[in-house]
Symmetry: C2
C-alpha cells in the first residue's frame, strides 16, 4: 500500500445558503480543490461523495454521478458513501484507500449537505433516523436527547458540569470569529451560553451545533506525486474507522465511545505516533459534551478530565492542544456530509499556513481529525503531517 | 495491488418477505457467507453494505453499523455505499479495492433492500428520485417512462420490437423455474407477456422487474489466501465503474449506455480478456430492453442485434452466451441494494457447480456481471474466473 497525500482543498461558506442544491455546493468546493491542486478534467480518476440523505433533504437519490456530470467529467466513477455525520471523513478515507491501492491515482473526495430547506422539526426527525430506529428514533428519542443522557452520565461520574460545557461553546464561537467560512463568526458570553433555552436537559441551545448548508472537497494523490508538487500539501499519515452498537442501551458505558478509542488507537499505530505528538485537533462537537468526550477518548486528557481541561484553557487557541480552532461544528456549522471533509480541509490549511492570520497556529507538524456518526456508532479518524 | 478472490456467498430468498428488516436479511445472508468461507467473528476486518434507501423504505439511516452490531462483531468498520440500483456491485468493488490495497485482509460485502412495506406508488416515487430530480423526477417521469423512451428509440432505429422484449421476459421466467431463491419461479407464455397491462408505452407489465425484498453477501480475501482455501472460490479478474450524466436529455444517444461500454472496456482490459472469452453473464434487466442493450454495449452482439439474438435463442441457457440464467431481475426479483451482490453470488455458484442441477452451466471458466444505477448513470462491471 503506497503512502498518500492531499494537494488541494475547497470549502464553501457554511450557513443557511438559500436556493442552492448540494450538487451545486459540491461543484463549487470541488472546483476550488481542482484549481488549488492544478488538476483538470482529465486528471481525476474517481470521485467519492459523503452525504447523509440527499434523499430526504432534496428528493435526490443517486446523487454521486451528479457531481462529475456538473463538473464536466461525466464518465468519471462517482461513489456515495454514507455513515451519518461521519459520511464526509469516510469519503476521504475510501478515496485514500483507493489511491493507496494503486487502482486510482487521483481521487476527489467531497462531502455536502443542504439542510435548511426543511423545517427544523423535519431535520431533527430525519437525523434521529441515524440512531437505532427500532429501539430509539421510533420511540421518540432524538440526538439532543441521546447526548443529554451522555452529558448527565458524565456529570454524575466526573463532575463535568454546565460551566464546562458552556466553556466549549464560548471557545468555539471565539475561535470562529476570524473564520470567514463559519456560520456563526461571533463571540458569545458565558452568561448567554449558560442561560439559553433548554433543549434536552442538561443541554441548552448553545450546547448544540446548528443546522447548516455547505460543502467541502479534497484532492488525494500518491505521496510520491504530492511531495514533488509545487503547492500546498499534507501527508495522510493515518486513516481509521470503527463501528459500535447502534443502540446506546447495548453499550457498557455511555460516558465515552469505544469507537473513538479504537479508531484513535488504530490511527496512532498506523502513523507511528502517540497523542503527545499531535499539535492540534478538530473533533466532532455536535454537542459540547461530545468534544469533551472526544478529547478524553483520543488520549489527550485522562478520563473525566476533559471538562476541566476546557475551563483551564488547555484546548484554547493558545493552549497546549488547540481543539476546534476552526470554530468546530458548534460555530463553524454542521452540514452533515461536509463536516468530516471540512475538518480535514481545516487541518490541511493550518499545516500549510493558509488560514486567516488571526487564527493561524504556529509550530505545528501533526493535526488530527475525529468525525462521529450517529450516537458514535461510526467514528472515522485521520492524522496528517505537514508536507512543506 | 494484489489479486483478490471470493470464498463464500450468502443469499436470502427473494420476494415479498413480510415483517423483516433489511438488517435482518443482511445478517442472514452474511451468516451464510461466513459459514461457507469458514470465517468467524474475529476474522472480518471490514464490512461494505450496498443499500439504496433504508432512509425512505425503513426509516433507518446510518444502516451500515447495524450489520456488525447484529452479527456480534460490533466494532468492525462498516460502510454504506449507494449508487441507486448499482449499490450492491459497488459494495463488492469497494471491498475488492480495500482488500487489493492490503489495508484489509477480509471484507464482507453485502447488499439488501426491504421494499414491499411501502405501497407500490410510494416505491415508484422513491425510485424516481434516482434520476435527475430537478429535470426528470420532479417533472413527473418515473423509470418505466425513461426506459420506455429507450425502448421506443431502439425499436425505431433497430427494429427491436415487442416480441423481442417479451422473449427476454419469457426466457427470464423459464430460467428462474429451478432457482429456489427466485421471486417468480414460474414460466409465462409469449401470449401472456405480449398482452399484459401497458405500464409505459411500449413497456408492458412483463417488461418490468418487480418490487422485492432480499439480501446477498460475499466474502472477499486476497487471492493468495483464496487459492489455498479448501472450498468454493472464484478469482475477481476485474472490477470497474463508470458514471454518466444524470439526465437522459444530456446524452447524445439513448439506445445504449456509454457507461456500460466504458465499464466493459475497462473490465476486459483489467482481466486481459475479450467478450469472446466470457462464458455467461448476469446483466441488469430492470426492464427487458435493458438486457438487450446491455448485451450490445458489453460487446457480445453487434449494435442493434441484441433483440434478434434473444429470439434466436443465443442468450438462452443452451445458447452460446447464457444471459441471466438465474432468472435475472425480471424473475429472480430486484431488491435494489441486493441485486448487484446477487448477480455476483450467482456467478460464484455457477463457477463452483453449486446451483440446482437443472440450471447448472457446463464448461464455464469466465462469468461477468453488469449492474446499473439510475437510467445508466452508474454502471459497475465485474469479471470472475473459476478458482477450482
Amino acid at each position: 500500500m503506497r503512502e498518500v497525500g492531499i494537494i488541494g482543498v475547497g470549502h464553501t461558506k457554511f450557513g443557511a445558503l438559500g436556493r442552492v442544491t448540494s450538487r451545486e455546493l459540491i461543484v463549487s468546493a470541488a472546483s476550488e480543490a481542482m484549481e488549488m491542486s492544478q488538476k483538470g478534467r482529465d486528471d481525476i480518476d474517481a470521485i467519492y461523495v459523503g452525504q447523509l440523505s440527499p434523499d430526504i433533504f432534496e428528493h435526490q437519490m443517486h446523487a454521486a454521478p451528479g457531481i462529475p456530470d456538473y463538473l464536466g467529467l461525466a464518465n468519471t466513477p462517482s461513489t456515495r458513501v454514507e455513515a451519518a455525520c461521519a459520511s464526509g471523513a469516510l469519503s476521504v478515507m475510501q478515496g485514500a484507500i483507493a489511491v493507496a491501492s494503486g487502482f486510482y491515482d487521483t481521487v476527489l473526495s467531497a462531502g455536502a449537505e443542504k439542510m435548511t430547506s426543511l423545517p427544523t422539526s423535519h431535520v431533527t426527525e430525519a437525523l434521529a433516523m441515524c440512531s437505532d430506529n427500532e429501539y430509539e428514533a421510533n420511540l421518540g428519542i432524538t440526538f439532543p436527547g441521546a447526548f443529554a443522557m451522555m452529558a448527565r452520565a458524565h456529570e454524575i461520574q466526573f463532575g463535568t458540569n454546565a460551566e464546562m460545557r458552556a466553556s466549549v461553546a464560548v471557545k468555539a464561537h471565539k475561535n470562529a470569529v476570524h473564520n470567514k467560512l463559519a456560520q456563526f463568526p461571533k463571540e458569545i458570553t458565558m452568561e448567554k451560553a449558560m442561560h439559553s433555552l433548554m433543549i434536552a436537559d442538561p443541554l441548552t441551545l448553545y450546547d448544540c451545533s446548528p443546522i447548516t448548508d455547505g460543502a467541502a472537497a479534497v484532492m488525494i494523490v500518491p505521496w510520491e506525486e504530492a511531495k514533488k508538487f509545487d503547492g500546498p500539501k499534507v501527508k495522510i499519515k493515518a486513516f481509521s474507522q470503527a463501528s459500535d452498537t447502534m443502540a446506546l442501551h447495548d453499550r457498557a458505558d455511555i460516558t465515552g465511545f469505544d469507537t473513538t478509542k479504537i479508531a484513535g488507537r488504530k490511527a496512532y499505530k498506523m502513523a507511528g505516533l502517540t497523542p503527545k505528538d499531535i499539535d492540534f485537533v478538530e473533533v466532532h462537537d455536535c454537542f459540547t459534551i461530545a468534544e469533551i468526550i472526544a478529547t478524553e477518548d483520543l488520549g489527550f486528557f485522562e478520563k473525566g478530565k476533559g471538562g476541566y481541561a476546557v475551563i483551564d484553557g488547555e484546548t484554547a487557541r493558545d493552549g497546549h492542544l488547540p481543539v476546534n480552532n476552526s470554530g468546530g461544528l458548534k460555530a463553524k456549522g454542521h452540514p452533515i456530509g461536509a463536516t468530516g471533509v471540512s475538518q480535514i480541509a481545516e487541518v490541511f490549511k493550518q499545516l500549510n499556513d493558509m488560514v486567516e492570520p488571526e487564527r493561524q497556529l504556529k509550530d505545528i507538524n501533526f493535526g488530527m481529525t475525529q468525525n462521529l456518526g450517529g450516537s458514535g456508532s461510526t467514528i472515522v479518524a485521520h492524522i496528517f503531517e505537514r508536507g512543506n
